[in-house]
């Protein structure tokens, strides 16, 4: 076993240990991320067909409207959507072309 | 016009509920009161503050709207105990009725 492998193995061991120590947090985060992926996907999928307002997305996806807005604000921050035209008192949100996932 | 009696608040001491002057008239008691009735109970408390005896006696009946539920006293930001002030006024009015 060469020295590099040895270091790698040691790190793997340490990571395993760390994962064990933080098990509770990791499980919680993983569950949360799973849920988030699902919801994010649903929102984006709906937006693929047409720009939409928060209530429209909420109606279509069944995700509570405050949560929809929270996702949209974040997606906007990371460049996946942009704010579009205003419709009454609401803005429509538009998927950007480069949006991954 | 409301006429002021300088010593009324002190005269109220013997009827209890003598914290009326501690109220800073924010209106919480009126708005929180389950009766949802105009300015009640702050209106009566205000008359007491000013010593507007006549106004209190004219409107005395209103005092008995109070359910003595204590919500106003519990939520009063000044801890001026509006509920007890109203009870004190009831006693004052009853004493007044009995006197006459």
């Amino acid at each position: 076993m060469n020295r590099e492998d040895e270091i790698m193995n040691k790190k793997k061991e340490a990571m395993k240990q760390l994962r064990g120590d933080r098990k509770e947090w990791i499980t919680m985060a993983s569950t949360m991320v799973k849920e988030q992926r699902k919801e994010r996907k649903a929102i984006k999928k709906y937006l693929e067909n047409q720009p939409a307002t928060v209530p429209e997305i909420a109606d279509a996806t069944g995700i509570p409207s405050d949560k929809v807005l929270w996702y949209l604000a974040t997606l906007k921050k990371y460049g996946d959507i942009v704010e579009g035209e205003k419709d009454g008192s609401f803005f429509r949100y538009v998927l950007t072309e480069s949006a991954p996932e | 016009m409301t006429l002021i009696h300088h010593d009324f608040a002190d005269q109220m001491d013997r009827f209890g509920g003598n914290t009326a002057l501690e109220c800073f008239n924010c209106g919480t008691c009126a708005a929180i009161c389950p009766l949802i009735y105009e300015h009640f109970p702050r209106k009566m408390i205000r008359y007491l503050q000013l010593g507007a005896k006549d106004r209190i006696l004219e409107n005395a009946k209103e005092l008995w709207r109070c359910l003595h539920c204590g919500l106003c006293s519990r939520t009063c930001p000044r801890e001026a105990d509006p509920g007890e002030v109203i009870l004190g006024l009831k006693r004052y009015v009853v004493a007044n009725w009995r006197k006459s």
């Binding site: - | 009946k61 709207r65 519990r74 009725w97």
Partner: protein, 308 residues
């Protein structure tokens, strides 16, 4: 709205003459114990303050008062003045149905069962069980209240009573807070539910508690019933205005303005019903009032009584 002066005079007069606010002699109203197996002697005295017993009469009174309040010709006929007088005393007793009276009695009988199950050493002496006078206090008849309270307290003291078990919030407040303040006589006062000591697991259910103002705010006792129900697998679903911030049921306004009382009641019932669960009351006035609004409501003692 009725003239408070008339009501106060009437009640004060009734209490003076009959020691009952409605002018109904005690022997007529307080009959529940005859059908209950309750000892006379015990370490603590069960003191009902007769509130539950009066409820059926209050209902009847309100029914009439409501009919004539603020009607122009009622005023013209001087009904506003004479009506309250008309519906008090034995006349009132005759107008009130026996069924209602029985229902009230059952609550007290349940309380006896609950205390017994909790191994509380208590007894009941009808001759010592008196009206507390609280209504006079609330209405501002301070002199009348103090006179009456001194009488009641002296009675208890001379019978050597130290510990008192109460069953309703108004009487509890009177004995625990007002008597020491205005009569100088103190007792060790506990409500019956503070003494409950048993648990039961019969499958969970949910109820909505309506905290009475005196328990929730003045006496800060509302966490006690919650805990006891928890021991019985009963979950309490709280509305926003509960505990220290509970909302009045409107009951206390009945004698002065049934209309006002009804408005307040309506708002409170709406809030309580919003949970969708049955409502639990623990005060005879709340109980009667909420029932009047057609809510699905029962007394705390009735609910607990079923778990014995």
């Amino acid at each position: 709205m009725y003239n408070p002066k008339d009501i106060i005079d009437l009640i004060a007069d009734n209490v003076k003459k009959t020691r009952s606010p409605f002018g109904i002699p005690k022997f007529m109203a307080n009959t529940w114990w005859k059908n209950a197996s309750v000892a006379r002697d015990g370490e603590a005295l069960l003191f009902t303050g007769l509130m539950y017993q009066f409820v059926p009469y209050i209902d009847t009174t309100t029914h009439y008062l409501e009919r004539y309040e603020d009607t122009g010709w009622a005023n013209y006929l001087h009904y506003t003045k004479y009506l309250p007088k008309l519906i008090s005393g034995t006349g009132l007793a005759l107008m009130t149905s026996g069924k209602e009276k029985k229902r009230s009695g059952r609550i007290l009988q349940d309380i006896v069962k609950i205390l017994t199950k909790s191994n509380v050493d208590f007894g009941y002496k009808p001759e010592l069980d008196d009206y507390s006078g609280i209504l006079l206090y609330d209405l501002g008849d301070q002199d009348g209240f103090v006179r009456h309270a001194e009488n009641v307290a002296a009675n208890l003291k001379s019978a050597g009573i130290q510990k008192v078990i109460t069953v309703d919030p108004h009487t509890t407040y009177a004995l625990k807070v007002l008597y020491p303040r205005y009569t100088g006589k103190s007792f060790e006062v506990k409500t019956y539910f503070e003494l409950i000591d048993f648990s039961s697991h019969n499958g969970s259910r949910r109820v909505t508690l309506h905290d009475p103002c005196f328990y929730g705010r003045y006496l800060e006792l509302s966490d006690v019933p919650q805990k006891i129900l928890g021991k019985l697998d009963i979950e309490c679903v709280n509305v926003r205005n509960s505990g220290e911030f509970t909302n009045c049921c409107g009951g206390p306004a009945e004698s002065i303005s049934p209309k006002l009382s009804k408005e307040v009641l309506g708002r409170r019932v709406e809030e309580l019903q919003s949970t969708g669960y049955p409502i639990i009351a623990m005060c005879p006035i709340c109980l009667a009032n909420l029932r009047k609004a057609g809510a699905q409501v029962e007394d705390l003692s009735s609910l607990i009584g079923r778990y014995i």
